[in-house]
């Protein structure tokens, strides 16, 4: 859509706002509605909007296709790794009480890392799937 200035300028205003909102949803999820699942999808939708307006090729230059694949793996590893870390720290699997001095602080850190893992995984999965569908039948 090279010939549509309204869409191009509109997207330039929208995309940073969507990304910022995604981060807000991620880090404010403990106090209001939101969390890793929602933030991952919202951040993905910003890049989907970018791809719809500026084309798949320039999106692939912004985020190469290996990034979402790596992110999907990394997200699951962060989540499972948190569980492993709690085992090594002497607790049970995914028992966050042992991470910091008090159970409450430990829970806080545990939930933070787990939400981060969910966010990274959902972002990777959604963008990877989008790339797979849109890139079908085109040169990689």
């Amino acid at each position: 859509m090279d010939d549509c200035p309204i869409l191009r300028v509109g997207a330039k205003i929208m995309i940073p706002t969507i990304l910022l909102f995604g981060l807000y949803v991620q880090f404010h999820g403990e106090y209001g509605p939101g969390g890793g699942f929602q933030a991952g999808v919202i951040v993905t939708s910003a890049f989907i909007l970018y791809a719809l307006i500026y084309g798949l090729d320039s999106t692939r230059r912004v985020i190469p296709p290996f990034v979402p694949r790596a992110a999907a793996v990394l997200g699951v590893l962060i989540f499972a790794g948190t569980g492993l870390a709690s085992l090594l720290a002497g607790g049970r699997f995914l028992d966050y009480d042992v991470f910091a001095g008090s159970p409450q602080k430990g829970q806080h850190w545990g939930i933070f890392t787990v939400e981060l893992g969910v966010f990274v995984a959902v972002f990777g999965v959604m963008l990877g799937v989008f790339y797979a569908f849109v890139g079908r039948g085109r040169p990689q």
């Binding site: 806080h108 797979a132 569908f133 890139g135 079908r136 039948g137």
Partner: protein, 182 residues
Amino acid sequence: METAIDVTLLALLGLTGIALLRVYNLVTAAMLLAIYSLLCASLFTTLDAVDVAFTEAAVGAGVSTVLLLGTLALVGREEKRPLKRQALPLIMVVVTGAALVYGIADIPPFGAPDNPAQQHVAPVYLQESEAATGIPNVVTSVLTSYRGYDTLGEVTVIFTAAVGVLLLLATGRGRGRGPDDG
């Protein structure tokens, strides 16, 4: 007021469902499905499930519509009209629906605070979770702490689904029409 919104949204959902059944253009169907998801998200908000509403709006109305349209761009947008009306599916649906109606008639009243579903673990979560985790959003603390195993499983499921999609679509050139093109 709450009840009126609830009734209206559910009626609109029913109408969208019937419209979905009657259209044969698949792009129209994809758009109707997006409307359906957005109505669902509004309904979830009135039913106090704000986190769910949030997810449904982002996933159902956003990502799945994009995926559906991406598929339709590859496979064509017109659905073949059925040549004759089949009786068997209708009979199946009527029988299943009758069984469900029979079951629903015995369900506890909608919204009563002393329903069995409200007596089980929910009071424990509501009373103890803030002291245990320091987080006011009970949905977040249950999702990540109390039911962490469950969520790890779900994340693994979507990861597996992504692996499946990438294996199906991201290999080969995607032009051939033979059974053995990779």
